[in-house]
Subunit: 226 residues, 2 copies
């Protein structure tokens, strides 16, 4: 905890979904238990099936949480950024890691051990309540993901992904390459290229190698069938 003041850690924790509405004393108590970790771009944080280290929190950086098949094909379940948490499942049910995680960019992270979290659930009903709400929202997210992947074409999926960027900054920026988008939307970088070109020719977006800018939000929304 050497290089960070307790108060800055508390400021950070207050912006994490799980801890938002907790009282300052509890926040401080949690801050003292944060285990700081660092990762460089491309670093593997943990592997599916291994015992879980608990809940992971991102202070600053970008992380992909993903499954992989025997051919090496990847499915990114979630792209996470500043203030996000991941491996929630492994943290709360004491089971093994449900997927792999690697840093897409140099990152500063924390972990909180499962035992500590379970104690907190027992001691703080407000926290338990919050955990239930967050898990429900994750469930809702996965529900949408299954819907998108199975009921809509790649064009629709890409359009929806771009629209989500507006709310969720972890979906763009450093580390989120065409390859990552493809692995998240269950397609290939080539197809992403083609689709982006198509969206551009319709006048919905503008893009170059680095940025994708939404030109006509309404048109994109129509394409996304929203």
């Amino acid at each position: 905890m050497s290089d960070q003041s307790v108060s800055s850690l508390c400021d950070y924790l207050c912006r994490v979904v799980y801890f938002e509405h907790l009282n300052p004393a509890t926040i401080e108590y949690i801050a003292a238990r944060l285990i700081p970790r660092r990762a460089v771009a491309g670093e593997l944080l943990f592997v599916e099936g291994e015992p879980s280290a608990g809940l992971w929190l991102i202070q600053h950086g970008r992380v992909k949480f993903y499954k992989i098949n025997p051919d090496g094909q990847e499915q990114i379940l979630r792209l996470c950024g500043d203030g996000d948490t991941f491996n929630d499942i492994g943290a709360f049910d004491r089971g093994p890691n449900p997927a792999n995680a690697t840093a897409l960019h140099d990152s500063r992270l924390f972990t909180l051990p499962t035992d500590f979290l379970c104690n907190l659930i027992q001691r703080e009903p407000a926290f338990a309540q919050r955990v239930i709400e967050v898990l429900s929202s994750r469930l809702r997210l996965f529900t949408h993901q299954i819907e998108n992947l199975t009921l809509y074409s790649v064009v629709v999926r890409v359009a929806r992904f771009l629209l989500q960027q507006i709310e969720n900054p972890s979906l763009s920026g450093p580390g989120v390459t065409r390859m990552a988008m493809a692995a998240h939307l269950s397609t290939t970088p080539q197809t992403i290229s083609t689709v982006l070109r198509e969206l551009e020719s319709m006048g919905a977006i503008e893009f170059d190698r680095h940025h994708i800018r939404i030109v006509r939000d309404d048109l994109l929304r129509t394409i996304a069938l929203l």
Copy 2:
């Protein structure tokens, strides 16, 4: 509650994941709040986006929980049977129903209102703990589902589905037609037919219009890449 004794309701509740380890007094308290419902085969129970009626429990029957796209194409998120619960998300986060539900077969059901469940979470830490565990396991399930749908071929998906039948009886039996299997595995009834024939010719299963029997568990497991 007219036609069912309190003790038989309690016996039922003790077999539902959420209430397994609660003390008898609490179980009895919950039993008194169960709202009984009946449904005939094909009956729509609720629609995505509408306010949630709370948690649904199946006493006896079969229910599909699914998304639908503008073309009418269905994606079954979960097939539920005796003792299962559904609409957990809508029940715990006070949000709208995350998907549609219809009975696949004549069913006896219950609902428990959200307010009651939220109170219970506050009053019974053991229940809150259990809710967190169950939601985590649902999340794990969806994680697997996304993996199966995006990283494996239809043959593998069907093989895995058949293997799950052994543990989860709601995946077979009345109401679970080729159409339902197809909608769950994101494919078509025709493809299911072809794949079953293929699995039969390999000697892994035997089947007719009504039953699918696993002949060689080990072979099926190999095909499923497990």
